[in-house]
Symmetry: C2
Subunit: 422 residues, 2 copies
C-alpha cells in the first residue's frame, strides 16, 4: 500500500468523457489499496477563455490587477476539481474537492507567478486513514495568507502543485499524467529512433526542462529534487494492457541518481531554434565590461542564455558572444548600441539563423572527452560550431540552424541512444 | 452622499460589453460621491453550462454531492466579480472583488439553497472611508463556517446576497438592475394598459413575488422587509436621458408602507395558470380531517396553495377544495385516493383548466368591500368564481382558465389601475 499523488493536465480533463477516464485511473489505484491525492488542471481551453476575457476587460489601461486576474483564472481548476469529485463518487470512490484556500496551499504574494511556501497536508492524511477519501486538489492556485487573496502559480503551475502536495503528504510517488508517455532521449519528431527513458535523474530532467522539453515545468522538477519526490511521467491515454511484465506502464521515472543503476554517459539531446546570437567585438579586456553589457539587458527584461568569452590573445581586447531569445534580437542590439559608450567596443554583429544543441547526462561528470567526441563527429559532417558552453552535466553548442536535425541525429547515434530497430 | 448596493443579474453582465455598461452605472454613482458595493451574478448561460457538466458527470447515481455542485457553480460569480473589478479599474474607479468566503458571507449548511446567517461588512465600510474602494461581491455564494466549504443560495440567490449586504453595511438603498424597468400593476403582456408603480410596499411585493411576478426573489423581499432595506428595481439598459424632472430614473421602489404617501386601495393584479383544483366531497366535518388530507400531500412534497373549506350546512359533512401545481395534479389525486380510508370521503373531483387571479393592496385593510366589487364586476361578465380565499392585503379567486385575460383586465380597470391613454 502506497501513498500517491496523481496529476492530470488540461487535455486529460478536457471534457466529461475524459474526466471519466481520469476517474478510472484513480479508481484503479484506490482499488489496489493506495491512498490517493489527485491534482487537476483546468479543462483545456478554459484558461485561454478566461485570459481572453481579462484582456478584453481592458480598454484604457495596459495591464490588469494581477489579484483580480488570479481570482478569475483560479475558477478553471475549481470547476475540474468539483466535477472530478462528483465523477469519482459516481463510481463509488469516496472523494472531496479542495481549493487552494481551503487546504490551504500558502504562497508568496507574487500574483500570476506565486511560489508555494507551505502546504498543510494533515487533513488529507487524516481522511486517508479515517475514510479512504481521495483528495481532489485544484492545481495552479494558492492563497496569500496576509491578504487572504487567491494567487496562481503561472503556466504549468499544476505540476508544481502536484509535486508540492506530494512533498507535504510524504507521498511515495507523484504520477504526472500527460499527453505523452514519458521523457525521450530526443524529440521523436526529429529523431525517429529516439527512445523513451525508463529513468532520468532530477538534474538531467532539470536541464532538459529548461531547454524546452515541454514534458514538465522546470520549477516542479526543482521542487521534486529538493524534496526528493519521485516523479513518474506517463500518458493518461494508455491502456491497461500496455504494462510491462513487471506490471509497470509506459513512462519515465524522474528520481535521484542513486536510484539509477545503469548510468548512461549521455541521457538525452535537446535543441532550441528560438535563439539569436549576438557578438560584441573587440571590447577592452578589463573588469566591469561584462557587467556593462549584461546589466542593461537585464533591465530590459531580456533573458541571456549562453555566454562565451574567450581569453584574449593579446590581453587587450576580446570578443564576447551570448544568445538571447530570437524574439528579443533587435531589441537586444538596440540596448547594446545605446550602451556603446560605457561598454566601449568596436563592432557588433549577430545572427538569428542559429540553433543551440545540448547534450545532457550525469555520466559526463566521470567521463572525460564526452564533448570532444561531439566536436569530432560534427566536424566530420562539416557542421561548424559557432560557440560552446559547458557545465558539469551538460554542454551546449551553437550551430547554423540549417544543420539542426543533422546535428541532433548525429549526436544521438554517437552516444548510443538510438533505439534498436522497432 | 449615500451608501448604495447595486446588483446586476446575468443578462446585465452577459459579455464584456455589458460588463462595461455596468461599469458606467457604477462610475456614475461613484462620481456622484456615493459609496458603492456591487453584487454580481454569473454571466448568463454560464450557470446552465456548469449545471449541465455536473449532470453529465453522473452515470450511475441520480444525485450529486451538493457540496461539489456548489463549488462548481460558485465559479460563475467569481469570474464576473474579477472581470468587473478589472473593468472598473480600467475606468479609474478603485475596486476589488470579494468572494463569499473572503468577506465572509456565512450561511447555513443546506448546500444548493443555503440561508445567509451573517455578513461581515466592516472591511468594506473601512475601505469606503480609507480609499473610496468599490466592493465587487460575488452573489449567490457563501461559506459554511464549520466545514469551511462553499455554499450557494439557490436560484435568484444574488438578489438575496444584495439585500443582505445592504443590511450588513446599512446601505441607504439597494438598487436591483434587471432587464425590466420596474414592477407593474399587472403583466403588461396581458394588460397593455398596466402601469409601472413608482412605489410598492414590502408586503405587497412579497405577495406579488410569491404569485410568480419574476422581478424579484421572494426571499430577498422578505429580507428587505425584515431589515427595512429600501430596494429600487430598475433596468440596466436605461439611458441617462430617461430620468424624470427630479432626476429619478424609471423604476419601482420597494419600501416600508409608511413611505408611500398616496396609498392606493389596490396595487396590482396577478394571475397564475399553473394551478389545478381538487375537491374532496362530503368528508365528515370532524377534527383531524384536514390533517388526514394535507399530511400525506406534504409527505409527497406537493405544495398546496389555496385551501377552502366551507361551514357545513348540516354539521355532518362538508366539501374541501384546494389547489396544487398543475404538474402535481394526477399525483395529488393518487395520494388522496390512497388515503381514502383515513380521510373518509364520498367523491373526489378536480380540474386543471383553472386560473388563480389575485388582487393585492395594503389599502384593502382599511377599505371594506374591495373583494365584493370584484365579485360583482366578474358576475357582470358572466365569469364564474369557483373558490375564494382572502388575507389581509390580498384576495384570490379561482376561475375557469379561459377567462383569465378578461378577468385580469376587468379587475385592473375596476380598481383604477389603467394608465391614462399613452
Amino acid at each position: 500500500m502506497a501513498r500517491l499523488v496523481m496529476k492530470f493536465g488540461g487535455t486529460s480533463v478536457a471534457d466529461i468523457d475524459r474526466i471519466r477516464n481520469v476517474t478510472r485511473h484513480v479508481k484503479r489505484e484506490v482499488d489496489a489499496g493506495h491512498d490517493v491525492a489527485v491534482v487537476v488542471s483546468a479543462m483545456s481551453g478554459t484558461t485561454d477563455q478566461l485570459v481572453a476575457w481579462c484582456e478584453a476587460a481592458l480598454q484604457t489601461r495596459r495591464i490588469f490587477d494581477a489579484r483580480e486576474y488570479d481570482a478569475v483564472l483560479a475558477t478553471g481548476e475549481q470547476v475540474t476539481a468539483g466535477l472530478l469529485a462528483i465523477t469519482l463518487q459516481d463510481m463509488d470512490v469516496n472523494a472531496r474537492s479542495w481549493l487552494g484556500w481551503q487546504l490551504p496551499i500558502l504562497t508568496s504574494n507574487v500574483h500570476t507567478s506565486a511560489r508555494i511556501l507551505e502546504i498543510n497536508g494533515a487533513e488529507i492524511v487524516k481522511r486517508f486513514a479515517e475514510r479512504r477519501e481521495v483528495a481532489v486538489i485544484a492545481g495552479f492556485q494558492g492563497l496569500h495568507k496576509e491578504t487572504g487573496r487567491i494567487t496562481t502559480l503561472g503556466r504549468g503551475g499544476s505540476d508544481t502543485s502536484a509535486v508540492a502536495v506530494a512533498a507535504a503528504i510524504r507521498a511515495d510517488r507523484c504520477d504526472i499524467y500527460t499527453d505523452v508517455d514519458g521523457v525521450y532521449t530526443a524529440d521523436p519528431r526529429v529523431v525517429p529512433r529516439a527512445k523513451r527513458l525508463a529513468k532520468i535523474a532530477f538534474e538531467e530532467m532539470l536541464e532538459l526542462a529548461s531547454l524546452g522539453a515541454k514534458v514538465m515545468q522546470v520549477r516542479s522538477v526543482e521542487l521534486g529534487m529538493v524534496h526528493n519526490v519521485r516523479i513518474f511521467v506517463r500518458s493518461s491515454f494508455d491502456r491497461p494492457e500496455d504494462v510491462d511484465p513487471h506490471g509497470i506502464p509506459p513512462g519515465t521515472l524522474i528520481c535521484d541518481e542513486e536510484e539509477i543503476v545503469e548510468q548512461q554517459t549521455v541521457t538525452g539531446i535537446a535543441f532550441s531554434r528560438d535563439e539569436a546570437q549576438i557578438s560584441v567585438r573587440e571590447v577592452e579586456d578589463k573588469p566591469g565590461v561584462a557587467a556593462a553589457i549584461f546589466i542593461p539587458l537585464a533591465e530590459a527584461n531580456i533573458n541571456v542564455d549562453m555566454i562565451v568569452q574567450n581569453v584574449s590573445p593579446d590581453g587587450k581586447t576580446t570578443d564576447l558572444t551570448f544568445t538571447v531569445p530570437a524574439a528579443d534580437y533587435q531589441r537586444s542590439l538596440d540596448v547594446i548600441t545605446k550602451a556603446k559608450k560605457t561598454i566601449g567596443f568596436k563592432r557588433l554583429d549577430g545572427a538569428t539563423d542559429v540553433a543551440k544543441i545540448s547534450v545532457i547526462g550525469i555520466g559526463m561528470r566521470s567521463h572525460a572527452g564526452v564533448a570532444a567526441q561531439a566536436f569530432q563527429a560534427l566536424a566530420e559532417r562539416a557542421i561548424n560550431i559557432r560557440a560552446i558552453t559547458t557545465s558539469e552535466i551538460k554542454f551546449s553548442l551553437l550551430i547554423d540552424a540549417a544543420f539542426t536535425e543533422l546535428a541532433v541525429r548525429t549526436l544521438h547515434s554517437l552516444y548510443g541512444l538510438d533505439q534498436a530497430t522497432a
